[in-house]
Assembly symmetry: C2
Homo-oligomer: 186 residues x 2
DNA sequence: TCGTTACTGACACGACTGTTTCAGTAGCTC
DNA sequence: GAGCTACTGAAACAGTCGTGTCAGTAACGA
């Protein structure tokens, strides 16, 4: 299937160059293809972007699925999962993917129509679902439980934004760990 | 001064339409001007974007300056300021500005050259500075103090991302308040 | 009145955009 | 061999982009 291998090439290209000002001719040349072929396979540029965003989401879901999703890790399960997620987010090799992800997020806020669609809302829900699975059953469906996983997600994402902008791994990691240790005690 | 009033018009236009695919002709037509004039006043499109980003940053700094920045509100000063900041971030009328802000942030991560420059890093530092001023003097320059304000910033920004994507004011606000109340006790 | 400064309109230039048209080629099935 | 499917190259289309050129107006101080 030519489509999947070209998508993969385009994906690594997008990771390097971003999606915002990507255009067909430079992309095609870089991956050894032609605008004609890309249009043939993906119908339109919008279709290509949609495919790239879906591809990025696969990486994201794959990460999330690696978090232990069996239930009842105890009352502290949420923090355990969060700590694991952070170590993934903070890893050097994931910067490009996460930057692309922020880009897609921002874009889907600005224009919810278009290929970006509901990317932002989707990822929030993906993450909240995984975090919910790590909470004790009794807590999961309470308002306090929703707030708690919302808070954990906020900490992870806020710290990620900070890390991507400043590159200060030590400070952001200390902050995240401080939080996860603190709630552990409560 | 024609420049400032046109900048203001362009700014409100950018708040509605985003910066990413803004182009001179539609913008000029919308604000009753011409590409010629915009180029005359701002030298280039890049100059215009730089001016718009600077304008957005003014709104941001104005917000931050409204947070009480006199020192020693007590050990809980950081939370007091954070709560005030959140009520501003969560206000309905600020959605457009904050979305624009996220867009600029994302873009400055993708391409740190160009008009976006150090927008992301700058805002992180702006906020951290304000939060630092709200911490007790004794805590301010310790590693734990840095981590604490980093964490507060992460919560605010993470919750903001969530709010912008989902519009769920109740859940995000509950999460933020839970956090600020929790650390208050510690 | 002259010169200077601030601003503006009309138009064209070259580069680039996504997309289409037309014309294929290679491989597989019947 | 015929026909079908999958894929591809070359070139052109219409449109938009940022920008430059040339000209011109209005206000104002000397």
């Amino acid at each position: 299937m030519r489509e999947t291998e070209l998508l993969e090439l385009a994906y690594t290209y997008a990771l390097e160059h971003g999606l915002a000002d990507m255009s067909l001719r430079p992309l095609a040349k870089a991956i050894g293809s032609s605008p004609r072929v890309l249009l043939y396979l993906f119908d339109s540029k919008e279709g290509l972007i949609r495919a790239l965003l879906a591809r990025a989401r696969i990486d994201e879901l794959e990460l999330l699925s690696r978090a232990p999703n069996f239930t009842d890790l105890g009352p502290d399960g949420l923090n355990i999962v969060a700590e694991r997620l952070w170590s993934w987010l903070a890893a050097d090799g994931h910067r490009a993917l996460l930057t692309l992800w922020v880009e897609g997020y921002a874009r889907s806020l600005v224009d919810p129509e278009g290929p970006w669609g509901t990317f932002a809302r989707d990822t929030v829900n993906d993450w909240l679902k995984v975090l919910a699975a790590a909470q004790p059953r009794a807590e999961r469906n309470t308002s306090a439980g929703r707030a708690r996983r919302t808070l954990v997600l906020a900490v992870l994402r806020g710290a990620l934004l900070d890390l991507l902008a400043t590159g200060d791994l030590a400070r952001t990691t200390t902050a995240v760990h401080a939080q996860l240790r603190r709630t552990q005690r409560s």
